[in-house]
Symmetry: C2
Subunit: 211 residues, 2 copies
Amino acid sequence: MLELAILGLLQESPMHGYELRKELATKLGTIRAAISYGTLYPTLKRLQTAGWIGEAESADSEIIPPLTSKRGRVVYKITAEGKERFAELLAQAGPETYDDAGFGVHFAFFSRTDRATRLRILEGRRRRIEERREGLREVLARASDRLDAYTLELQRHGLDACEREVRWLEELITNERSGKSPATATNLKTGTSPAGETPLEHPGPHQDRPQ
Amino acid sequence: MLELAILGLLQESPMHGYELRKELATKLGTIRAAISYGTLYPTLKRLQTAGWIGEAESADSEIIPPLTSKRGRVVYKITAEGKERFAELLAQAGPETYDDAGFGVHFAFFSRTDRATRLRILEGRRRRIEERREGLREVLARASDRLDAYTLELQRHGLDACEREVRWLEELITNERSGKSPATATNLKTGTSPAGETPLEHPGPHQDRPQ
DNA sequence: GTGGCGATGTATCGGGCCGATACATCGTGC
DNA sequence: GCACGATGTATCGGCCCGATACATCGCCAC
């Protein structure tokens, strides 16, 4: 999961770890508060070993290095194999694509995903949430007298969140089918154009079988 | 976190692993979909080593063992030290008490928690969510032109969820202060009585043995 | 009657991710 | 000159997950 996110961010521009962590935090927002360094650095090492990313130590080619560069920050950049790996991860949608973290990361890179995959993921996520919702309704209907008031309140709040997310997903799916991008949310002034910076830069990029 | 949940459930009645997992799933609902066995069994072993829980192998004292009991299910029961440990975990509220999983588990056992601790946890959680909310507003205000339409939609959805949870917490806090138990939700027909089975089994005295 | 099959049940293993911790350097203020 | 907070890299122990491998029970079909 983190692998996908790192590859995606490094595709935009090379970065060092600290910067990567901050970008990750703003890009993923709620989904994944802030990645731990205890996760980030080992993952970077793993990606480097696999050949997806490369090291470009202190690549200040524009201005004169403002620091003595004794043993400075390590700048990582994505390799050609890394780009392939990224595309592969983007296109595939397993069960882990539909849990909270996995879905969030995939969604954050939807502007680089083709429409068919977007729809597949949105529908998979919806199904997942609908199952969760049914489970909660089951519990509230069947076992409500066996649980205390606080537990019940927790279930109710969870059920509410599920119903809300399903509606959100429905709306996104409808938009996808009709060819509109999101950002046409009802309660936003939306000063930015709906097709912002990179709405669809890959017309039909997914390699393997279209399916 | 799991430790608290297991101790709490075993306080209600002895159980074996499989049963524990199912109870955990219904009790925690959204918070923690279903605990993995790869987590559960090592945790049980850990709790047993620590002396918080004990083994009561195949304790079918009521009816004749319906199975040959070759090497049957292992029933776990909480020990006296385990009960103390549970009370200790219930009362303390660190930073990990306010993240999604931690808060959910604590909340699920609020009927065993004294009012002061409940308020402390609810307010800590509210603060945590408010910080998350402010972070999202910051991003939406400052970096909205730097992010694509999908990422923005993700942030907006996250912000919405934060605002909703803060309102929910406000309501719970108000109820706590005025001495009411929850379950008087506004948007529910609420066929069950608001003071269901165990709304407040501890009037004021916190931990130690309740019964 | 036996053979498959899904539910019940216990257990391990590799690996991802986290929090805590330890460093080292830079810019700034005093 | 030096303390201090921001920036920056890195490791360690530990929780938790998914995958996997078992073994048993009740039941139905053939």
